[in-house]
Symmetry: C2
Subunit: 344 residues, 2 copies
């Protein structure tokens, strides 16, 4: 069973592995710089469906199918599916995964969903009773724009701080194996709300959540940044990443040499006109289940902290003048059976 | 650690208890027949707030506060909070619980959220590592009508199969104790979609999910209805309850003598003009955390299966012609340390 290292940090006693993972992206995501790390690129982002919402469900379904295929595991062998997304009532997930007929817990963590699902899969999978567990999430630029902002046809202007919702999905199958990467520890996030109201500046809203969770993890494990070779946040973008560094600097913590943000990784800011970077559940999910997992599998990274970040507002809460509460959940992925900290 | 009794059914090895639970309701909920089982009734369903959404958050916050107060546990002692609701992006939960500053996993299970949270709390709490865990959800008639149906001012007509969203919240604190009721087993639901499209007939859409989960539980545990003295569904209402009996009868299972539905319990169909009954996350939550838990505490019930049901559609999926996928999660609550089945 998991070993508590603090109120919200747990080391796995028998760390489950990521058995397989897959990332599926749309046309823009399939351009450089990240094209090679997607398992499938769909230049037709409608996926042959008549609506963007149905297309997003298909992306999520496809990511699940690819992860299962890689692991050579049939849907009926999977014990639990953890999924959620940005759409109202999480319909990408419900409609995307229903045909798999896997016991299902729906999650809502906005863009933090991938690490919420991986953290839960770690905690539930540590004892090997629920094994394997499939974790998946997605986002779609067109369904997100329609729901959260303006109809695409309107051609609304976006300020420089705005981020571009990724059309992508990532899925990871978690279970017992002697093969890395291992899910060695998790920190469950606490909602942070520093009073940011600007829905065109999600990076600023989410940076405090990422910083709080990372600082909690370091304090609870007694470790320091230099003991890791990668810290992946998602999706702070360029604006949020700078604020993240500032918040950490206030606590004398510097991660700049090992930090990458999924929102900065997924698009090329110079050529792809995405302003402050990428966002959406599918951004951290596809970067995490594509690029990051491949780096761990190839042995290019060994000790990685992966913390997706989510903004928990809605259009209604914004219209009612509420600030933006945010959250970030962390998972520690390692190629090494021996963790960098004592106790797990 | 939990003992698997089937793919999706788990018996707790060291069953956690419901340490305390509380139910908060609005004016209509505070009339007979259920008034006495609410810890607090708020005749002002605005809760002093300017919007229905903010009012719903306050209901959820208040339910948490009351459950914590009963258990004499401070928010900072709670290890994990599990919450979700019906509003877009689950804002009742995020804004309702953020000030408690408890590590938080957001859930989305529509009206099944209370038993999704209790099932997860059981699985995560079985080994005593994450202890205590607070589970909460809510709904509000006015925020739900605005979001899912018509503006209140419009005065839309409702067909006889329609249900009335409860203005209520329920919270339960789960942790180790020698005091009943114990959470002895869970069955995680699988999405069921039998092709119902009528959003004014949620009972018909959800009945197959409740029946599937209950039949899975009986098959996995090798038990029969007569070994329990209560089976509580929520929220099938009058229409859904009848279909639930029909679906069970096809498998030669009869639960009519011990079955109660939270949607039928919460309002008086004859005097309160709610058509087919109550609904909303807050319905099963308040009936479960109020009426049902009190019956167990008073020893009037001893072996109860509690299975809330959720319809996972959105207004958008309905407008796009999709049928309504549904889910139901089950928890077995008992006053007896010895379960009615082998193995847990």
């Amino acid at each position: 069973m998991p070993i508590p290292l603090g109120r919200s940090t747990f080391a796995m006693n028998r760390p489950p592995s990521v058995l397989a993972s897959a990332a599926v992206g749309g046309k823009k995501e399939g351009e450089d710089p990240m094209a090679q790390w997607f398992d499938e690129i769909h230049n037709d982002t409608t996926f042959g469906e008549k609506t963007w919402e149905k297309a997003e469900s298909r992306f999520q379904q496809r990511a699940c199918q690819l992860a299962l295929k890689k692991a050579k595991i049939a849907p009926e062998q999977v014990k639990l599916l953890l999924a959620g997304d940005l759409l109202n009532q999480c319909i990408s997930s419900s409609y995307g995964v229903k045909e798999l007929m896997i016991p299902f817990f729906g999650l809502y963590g906005a863009c933090s969903t991938m690490t919420e699902a991986l953290a839960l899969a770690s905690l539930l999978g540590d004892n090997g009773v629920i094994d394997p567990i499939l974790a998946v999430t997605s986002s779609h630029f067109c369904s997100a724009e329609r729901q959260f902002r303006y109809p695409l046809e309107y051609g609304g202007q976006r300020p420089p701080t705005a981020q571009w919702t990724a059309t992508a999905s990532g899925a990871a199958l978690v279970g017992k194996s002697s093969k890395p990467p291992y899910l060695k520890a998790v920190t469950i996030g606490t909602i942070q709300d520093l009073g940011v109201h600007d829905i065109n500046n999600m990076g600023a809203a989410m940076a405090p959540a990422a910083a709080a969770t990372l600082l909690t993890y370091f304090a609870d494990t007694g470790t320091q940044p230099h003991q890791y070779d990668g810290i992946f946040t998602g999706d702070l973008g360029q604006v949020g990443s700078k604020l993240f560094y500032q918040l950490l600097a206030q606590q004398q913590v510097n991660v700049t040499s090992i930090h990458q943000d999924c929102g900065c990784l997924i698009f090329d800011a110079k050529t792809q006109d995405v302003h402050a970077g990428g966002s959406g559940c599918g951004c951290a999910a596809s970067m995490g289940c594509g690029y990051l997992m491949r780096q761990l599998e190839m042995g290019k990274l060994h000790h990685v902290l992966f913390l997706a970040t989510g903004a928990l507002m809605s259009t209604v809460s914004c219209q009612q003048g509420c600030s933006i509460p945010c959250i970030s959940h962390l998972v520690y992925l390692s190629t090494d059976p021996t963790p960098v900290f004592q106790g797990g």
